[in-house]
Symmetry: C2
Amino acid sequence: MTVTSTGTVHHTPLDRLFRPTSIAVVGASTAVGKLGSAMLAAVRRAATDAPAVYAINPTGTAPGFLPSIRAASETHGRPIDLAVLCIPAGATPDALREAAECGVGGAVICSGGFAETGAEGTALQEEVAKISAATGIRVLGPNTSGFFRPGATTVSFVPTVRRIRPGPVAVVAASGGMNHALSFLLSEQGVGVGFGVGLGNCVDVTNIDVLEYLRADPAITAVALHIESVDDGAALLAAIRVVTAAKPVVAMVMGRGDVSAFAESHTGALATSWRTTRALLTESGAVVVDSEQQLVDALAVLSRTRLPAAPTPGIGVVTAQAGPGLMVLDNLLAHDIRVPALTEATRAELAKLLPPMTFQVNPVDTGRPGATFDKVLAATAADPDIDAVAVYALAEPDAIDLADAVRRSGIHRDLPVVLGIGGPADAVAPSVTAADHLGVPVLPGPTALATGIRALVQDARVRHLRAADDDGRITTHQAEVALPADEATAKELLGALGIATPPRRVCTDRAAAHCALAELPSPVAVKILDATVVHKTEIGGVHLNVRTTGDLDTALDALDAIGSPAYLIESMAAPGVDLILGVRRDPVFGPIAVAGLGGTAAEVIGDVAIRGHRLTHAGAAAMLDDLQCAPLLDGWRGGPVLDRDEFARIAVGLVTYLADHPEIGDIEINPLRLTPTGLIALDAVVVAAPDRQSPLEGEQP
Amino acid sequence: MTVTSTGTVHHTPLDRLFRPTSIAVVGASTAVGKLGSAMLAAVRRAATDAPAVYAINPTGTAPGFLPSIRAASETHGRPIDLAVLCIPAGATPDALREAAECGVGGAVICSGGFAETGAEGTALQEEVAKISAATGIRVLGPNTSGFFRPGATTVSFVPTVRRIRPGPVAVVAASGGMNHALSFLLSEQGVGVGFGVGLGNCVDVTNIDVLEYLRADPAITAVALHIESVDDGAALLAAIRVVTAAKPVVAMVMGRGDVSAFAESHTGALATSWRTTRALLTESGAVVVDSEQQLVDALAVLSRTRLPAAPTPGIGVVTAQAGPGLMVLDNLLAHDIRVPALTEATRAELAKLLPPMTFQVNPVDTGRPGATFDKVLAATAADPDIDAVAVYALAEPDAIDLADAVRRSGIHRDLPVVLGIGGPADAVAPSVTAADHLGVPVLPGPTALATGIRALVQDARVRHLRAADDDGRITTHQAEVALPADEATAKELLGALGIATPPRRVCTDRAAAHCALAELPSPVAVKILDATVVHKTEIGGVHLNVRTTGDLDTALDALDAIGSPAYLIESMAAPGVDLILGVRRDPVFGPIAVAGLGGTAAEVIGDVAIRGHRLTHAGAAAMLDDLQCAPLLDGWRGGPVLDRDEFARIAVGLVTYLADHPEIGDIEINPLRLTPTGLIALDAVVVAAPDRQSPLEGEQP
């Protein structure tokens, strides 16, 4: 720790925690099965960069054991880098204090019994957090099995960790269990792990710290991020933006089901909104996956190769067996990955290389692969519309060595190549080893191959979409709105933000209303105008298709009957496709934009697109294309086509406005109608931020 | 073959094809890399039940080679069971004819160049089909790499097949490539394969034949079914119903993306409707999965254990690490699998066995597993609401042997137990071997474990839902309808089928219409009544919310202007949730029922439930619960709750009626409104079957 003359505490660099040259195991033991025994054995087993290890136990249970951290520091002759605390929760604060006093750089707290268990544990955890904050000692945990750097230092009480295959991926998991589970899978499937950490209860070191730490680590080429809850959303997204500029992040988010009771018992934190977290992580640059297997497949590829930023990279698929090739194609197309038809020139070249009856459009089906396979790869890769190549073949040692064909073609030097090879492990292994030397990833089946390619494309696509981030933000709109806002006021704000609204009049008496009917394009909607009424239709405050003076009077009578303070007379828009676009404040991530199809169905089925307030124009233009209902926006049954630029301008303008106006809680346009002449806001609500609302408003449901 | 005195051709039993005691390899070769060489080596390598093998080549290229099938038969002294044809497409018909003449039981045609390549190949394929049909010789292919029975006979030119681990799963794949790809995955992941076949172009032997053949094979406990296209839908569904009564079928269906061009080049068949095929396979009893990995995970479980038929089995989750346990729980809950809270009694028992701060509600988090782990398993399994137990732990050889804990608990004898074990292969292997002896499946990670459990539940659930199948079908409705049908006629049919419709009058003049307005509950809808008009609203043929005589006259004027031959005056229903329910004739599967939320969104996003005409009451009652929009049916925001029995009665009635009335093409109720007083059909269309339509109608778009 460093306490400056002004009393500011500087955090110790994480290298002392994660690359210690000296380690004290507090609570060390020689009893088989004890944590302190397993941990001591693990840290002593360091493969390289072996740190000095001290076993600490106040009762000195074995020869060479020392009674305290202080005694270890004295023996070591200078401050020890890392203290690993294998002691009960209750003894932890004292041990941590002693460590900090002795200048220890970091501590791993393995024990549970903190915030995840109730009030007493929460108090202990707060005490630990205070010690860390006050002294600068970095703390991993509590409630973690530690971390490891396969091939170098292991600080984990799980003995099998030493068999994890070293490699280029870092695992950053919410818990020790998931760190181990993911690392073992990455190891067993040949991807390899360079660093793995389980964060536990995060009194100090969070995934944000670790992401920033890993950004500069040249041994790590990709990061696996496992998330159970998010504390500081903005900081996490910023960290992901920064890290993914340098190396890919593949993320998995818990909380799709309602797991809150168990989750809270696990780390003491509430699960965050699954949908929002996934959407914003994706927008920030992470490749979000649904399972460990997808995580492994994505990292097998992204730890070895990466596409340049691009909106829709073209994939060439070359397959030696049609069935698996069809499966790859089906998966890619179902996920909107572009598998373009090869040019005539490419097909002419392929026709010279392959038997006449094989499919050569893309996929390229080689039939049983032969001596021309490398030339087929080269021809496909040379096609101007191909940005990466996926290759599938069963291992047939007599027929072809797939990795050798890639090497001979040389295409892996020009663009990403991903192999899928089926077969028994011993038949596949030589190709895997050879491909590894070329930096070419190998996956075990068609779906795995497609998952890897999708990750490659997703990683390239999101970097393209957020490129505008660096061009600076859109100018803050100076428009102001008086709160509480009625519909007319809300629409004035939209108008100031450049959003189209229907021609309308605010009328305070019948004469004005009749004048409006006469002058506005017919038919009109006649609506209650009252900032305190949120659900106008439900109370009979909206009358549509009013064309005649008789109809108008009937409508005005009805509004008078419910005490409408004024009337809003508004021309009705042409029919079209009704969307919802809202901007609101997420408790974890701050201002977000939410868009989807109008009506309740989109909300119920979760077919909504969510983005953060750093939304770029390109990101907003593409956001609705992720939706299941996207076909409705492109001239479905002769209907209108969405102008993506117009939508992007509206969405970015709204979310930027919200971010710049803390007095606003949310703005919702519902519906935002897609018409043949463009988007038009038919109704809008502007709500004050909760802490700006009057008590009366705050009590409204 | 057997040709009876009446000339009927009896198909040879498939055992002669799939369990041959003698094999002739036609086109045998000694040249390395040739198909005929690889195939000859493969069939000679049979591990057990070694068949007599004859190498056939007219040029007698090697010692012991024979010039013809006839010569081989003579040498063998009796008809040869199987001829494997490794010869070009053009030479195939003659060879097949010779084989049939010599009494050969079955033939595998490896060569491509048939229907998948164009007119010439199609003619060859038809010739092959004719020979098979005329002589009874069973034909596998053309365009297949064959089949294998690991541990016994291999008829595949892929040499690595001999390393496939024998096991209880049969693979039935559309193509040789997928047979091999899936079999290798099942082998590598320890599930094991007992039989694998790639069907190719299916001139004779189809997946239906193989499913029926496998049903009686005691060595096969589960089937993997890979489908690219369906020819005879009804027969396939019937086969799946029969097989799944005996053993589980896990299916994967291609065609989610638009892969038709490549698919046709592959097997000469068009891809079927992905969504319909999946839905009907599921209804018939198959567990439909999305990837090879899910297939492997599902079969790892279902090949070893099965739940009794049940609607919503309760799953107990026991985990030694909270993070992976949370992941299992999240996956199960997100897929509506029931993970019930354990009873107070169970929790009291667990409290005696576990440290106080662990979560014991379900999941049961044991913390680092200790000596009581078997008792924890026993207590969880004994809970009255638990039907199967999922257990996750990292392999910690020092801490626990998971399989041994299961053995000591004995719970695997009472209910299905599925293990998830993370860790390096050599640390996990002893547990896998021990679990295998107990018949307990082991999966490698949390998602795999959840996938296996979901398959177990799905398999039990569908058997429960279709149990009513055996109770006989619902009585055919005698109601008849005159075609073409206008809305009133269509609603009379619905009424006869017991489906509620609004009070209405058919009026041929204005006086009758005014009388109807006066007598029907207000407001009313005034609609055009014309059987030739399908889209009434689009031409201004529907006027809603008519309450006054003035409004009525306006509406009638409008209908007269568009030449309405009569008026339909109908009371409007209460507001509610609008559904669509249609029954139609699928070109592959025959009568199907399709239901979803009203409006275009459900259709566009594919959130529709599809069932076949053997729909049971229980199946129909549950069908909407699969939909993403299902929450809208259960009192969403104070709205009405769907009576599942009422919906089931309507859906089964409609689809049964369609099945019994070939003159009807389809019946669509749109909307079928869910109101507080029940379901009511607000509009309905009955369309004649295409071949029953008049030419004029047939031309309508």
